[in-house]
Assembly symmetry: C2
Homo-oligomer: 443 residues x 2
């Protein structure tokens, strides 16, 4: 995401009565993650020739704008084939529509084919990207100031940012080298309760997490589900990278293993279709019971929140994603084979390049993710913004300080390296430049 | 907007340990406006032959899905003509993009042509519909629990709903027959300050308001700007109906009259392009000063909030609206002549039909809006949900209880009548049926 703050032409002029004071604005305006991303974008802008091992976006080369026309037409034909008149097809795409969206059934079918997740289409809410899904789930679950969310740390900044907008406190659960430890979740939940607050939700990325690249072993996933039940937590499972494992070994999502409706699954099409659709979704098949004993689906209850944030997700954007799902016969895994191969080669290239640069140096270490877009490099010096500036200017390489992904201290001696937006040759060149920086700093 | 709650198949079963209690969810899930809209949708579903004077959506007949293809192509050609390579055009539409959007310059040009609003493109943030613009502006301005928003009452439910999600208190300012009274705004702001809280924002629809149809005279608009300055309020001006006046008399927006950057303008393309794009915008050209004296544009500061809600607005949807603006040579007024004529005829038809039905009855009155989609009928009996049910079942006509648009009491003896979604013959038939109901109830 790109967050730009540009000093306006009036800089240096005296403060006018009509000016607003930044300290009077909501704390989310000054989100530290956004400030960090601003700094990163700004450095990248000043050193355009630096190789970016910071950018976590998908590779540009897969995108053809003509795909938009094609998918739109496929979805229109699908509506017509299902019996809608031409007028009704037009209305579906261009008029206001159902708050929870029109492609929930197609998404449920994809989840059954690709992930063995068995949920009705009605439990799916289509959102303006996965970011909105996070905000809606958090808002629905956290009712008051004493309701807190637990989150793996280091954590994707979009989650902590959404919580900040809603005024929901986030309590970190430290991530172990093999992912979230269910015992640690229980410990943190217990201490939250002892402080008089209520732990309501737990945010986790079980597959190839951003930023750490770490994945949870399957037995730990089962234990995490049991721990969440015990602690009264609803798990918010975010899975944007699940398709992109280094091998075809099955990695069941928490939702696929979830026999007790403990998990709200947060889905993204940004990597599997394209980011510009801004279509994501959540699966909330939990039953909600009111005081009169009336039972509803959580997805339906959350539709009120959705309606007051964005009314509904653009049906044009939904149609693009729907057309892609239909063409793919509901298997994103099958349709994304070429992307999977590309990202596998990139991650292997990154690993091999790190081994070549740092394999002989016992002071340097890195993890070996089983897939995804990210890995973490540990160094014997502080990897802060000052060093990032030096790295961009004098060494021509960008990376992300891991400290960006911690609420307090943490990550000071680590770099997040991304391998999604580059080709293999650029990755090798980037790591070569990084090697020079690290050697100069470690010597 | 359609908000559906469906009782799931497990109704009647005992509460399971895994079920969630509705009372544990956030209060916004139980938004009374959403419950009201649910009731209205549910009644409409049970009586499909009832004429709906309740539906405030734009008329379906203007929509052709082929327009989407056409506008997309125009926008792509525009990017290519401005020097972008084919790869860069693809990237603009399909990759992540600038948080505040890519068509801000086109929107600024439209505002200059149509509304004599002179702002730089950088002050425009493109949003996922006007609803998100409201939420972002409110979030940015209201920093803590003591920061409250003032809003005209009766009020569009989307505004109060967004405030509820964010935990921002809304204090009503009663609407007079000729719109918001600047003196009343000052009075309410003063009493808020006396209660130890800070009035930060004022929500108002100066042109043909939803639900009342009321417009503010131009001198009152100028006085409202002065009152807002005096009270330290930022005005949130919502203008979804401004194009649809009964005549061509100029009705300057508050933003066009705003010499002191007192107004954040909230824009919608739902009526002037189509709702399915889900593209809206806000104009925030206020200067923000931080503790170090650094000056930025409020639109840039608010981009952090936008990035944590929806990352950015779908560039595909932006391209559709951008293509329409280019084709219209930046004049929505000119491009919407046929829609303007249609809605004028509808409103005149509604007024004439009301006169025919109720002109002889001194107990019945209604207002005469200068444009827009809505008018209010005052009756000598309670127009509540029970009566709405009777009206749909026994008289075949739907309307909206005005009480839906009040936070507490108010509107009990009034109906909102909408004339946007129907043709003239249906409007006449709807009012004829309403006449029978009103006569039966008043006799």
């Amino acid at each position: 995401m790109s967050v730009g703050t540009v000093t306006v032409a009036t800089a240096g002029a005296p403060v006018q009565v009509e000016d607003l004071r930044r300290e009077d604005l909501h704390v989310s305006v000054s989100d530290p993650a956004a400030a960090s991303m601003n700094f990163l974008n700004e450095v990248a802008g000043r050193f355009p020739d630096a190789v970016s091992l910071a950018a976590g976006r998908p590779y540009d080369g897969f995108y053809k704008a003509q795909d938009v026309d094609k998918y739109l037409q496929i979805y229109r034909d699908h509506l017509a084939a299902s019996g809608l008149s031409a007028v009704a097809v037009d209305r579906t795409l261009l008029q206001y529509g159902r708050t929870n969206g029109v492609i929930g059934d197609l998404i449920a079918r994809m989840l059954a084919v690709d992930e063995a997740i068995d949920v009705p289409g009605q439990a799916v809410m289509v959102t303006a990207g996965c970011q909105e899904a996070m905000a809606i789930a958090l808002r629905g679950l956290c009712a008051g100031p004493d309701d807190v969310a637990l989150a793996v740390e280091p954590c994707y900044v979009g989650f902590t940012g959404a919580a900040r907008i809603l005024g929901v406190d986030v309590v970190p659960v430290p991530e172990a080298p093999d992912g979230l430890d269910p015992e640690a979740v229980l410990r943190v939940a217990r201490s939250v309760r002892e402080s008089g607050r209520r732990p309501r939700a737990l945010y986790v990325v079980p597959n190839f997490a951003n930023p750490s690249g770490v994945s949870m072993p399957v037995p730990a996933r089962r234990r995490l589900l049991a721990a969440a039940r015990e602690a009264g937590l609803v798990i918010l499972e975010d899975d944007p990278y699940g398709l992109f494992g280094l091998d075809d070994q099955p990695r069941p999502t928490l939702k696929a293993l979830d026999t007790d409706r403990t998990v709200i699954y947060l889905g993204s099409f940004a990597k599997s279709v394209f980011p510009g659709a801004r279509v994501g979704f959540l699966v909330a098949d939990q039953v909600v019971v009111d005081a009169a004993g009336r039972r509803t689906l959580l997805a339906d209850e959350l539709s009120t929140v959705k309606s007051m944030l964005t009314v509904n997700t653009s049906p044009i954007a939904q149609a693009v994603v729907g057309g892609m799902l239909i063409e793919a016969e509901y298997s994103l895994r099958a349709a994304n084979r070429h992307k999977v191969e590309f990202y596998r080669r990139n991650l292997r290239t990154l690993m091999a390049a790190l081994e070549r640069q740092f394999g002989d140096d016992p002071r340097i270490s890195w993890n070996a993710p089983e897939g995804g877009f990210f890995a973490v490099l540990h160094v014997p010096f502080e990897a802060d913004e000052d060093l990032l500036e030096v790295s961009a200017r004098d060494y021509g390489v960008l990376w992300t300080p891991m400290s960006y992904f911690y609420g307090g201290s943490g990550g000071e001696y680590a770099l997040r390296l991304s391998c999604s937006a580059l080709g293999p040759a650029q990755i090798e060149e980037g790591v070569r430049r990084l090697g020079k920086l690290v050697r100069d700093r470690s010597s």
